[in-house]
Symmetry: C2
DNA sequence: GCTTGCGTTGGAGTGTACTCTAAGTGTTAA
DNA sequence: TTAACACTTAGAGTACACTCCAACGCAAGC
């Protein structure tokens, strides 16, 4: 897959893909005529990275994880611990967002009541 | 309440509080001897803003909402629509994060299996 | 009166994650 | 063969949300 195709597939810019490679999130993509050729493995990797990025995981943490992967089997436990830690971070973020969701719902409902009341008054006034 | 007290209460820096005020998220706090005195209303406001900020709402959107509040009752419907829209944004973010959570859980489990297998091999080898 | 502590200001600086630019290469289609 | 198009690079620029700095103000306690 070319960079253009990957860019379209995931709806991210080519610049971002090159940036991730430069930062070491994607291991050096093989090249044909000086152009990137993304393998199935690369695609899977990008998919994971994007999923974690949208969940708010930093590039630094992701890089650390990828680096551990590169270092081979010996780092399996460390990698596992890193993922458990990050899952916890995501978990508390979800809780914060649910809290915000509820606060918003409460306010939205309040506006609904207000608008309803106003409407009634208008009808009454006619 | 002084800026120092509010800063401690919410665990944010005084700079951030002044920054939010400058950006118009908190309406001009009254001053005694040129020092900010936060009212109960200010505190409630800050609480809401921080809740939305941790949920990822941008300062720009928050400012828009606060501006509408300032403009009075006439903007109630517009405010409500803004909140509904933002609730939707938060909702999809929660879904993305839950997706990431599940992906992580899957990987963590995979590492668990791997480590278990490795352990068995070590025992076998002894 | 002097130090300490808490505050003030405008404006500069920082970190993160892109995003854009300029100048160039290599393939394809008319 | 020339134009269009997709790609390459290094490096500069941008957006967002703070965060820090220097220089100063004011009140309390020693």
């Amino acid at each position: 897959m070319t960079i253009g195709e990957v860019s379209k597939k995931f709806n991210i810019s080519k610049d971002t893909l090159r940036y991730y490679e430069k930062e070491g999130l994607i291991n050096q993509v093989s090249k044909m005529n000086n152009r990137r050729e993304y393998s199935e493995h690369d695609i899977e990797n990008i998919n994971f990275i994007l999923c974690m990025r949208t969940a708010g995981m930093s590039i630094e943490i992701l890089k650390k994880y990828i680096d551990l992967c590169m270092q081979g089997d010996g780092t399996a436990e460390e990698r596992r611990n890193l993922l458990i830690e990050q899952r916890e971070v995501i978990c508390s973020k979800i809780k914060e967002m649910e809290n915000a969701y509820n606060k918003l719902s409460y306010k939205i409902d309040f506006y609904y009541q207000t608008l309803l009341k106003k409407e009634k008054e208008i009808i009454k006034g006619e």
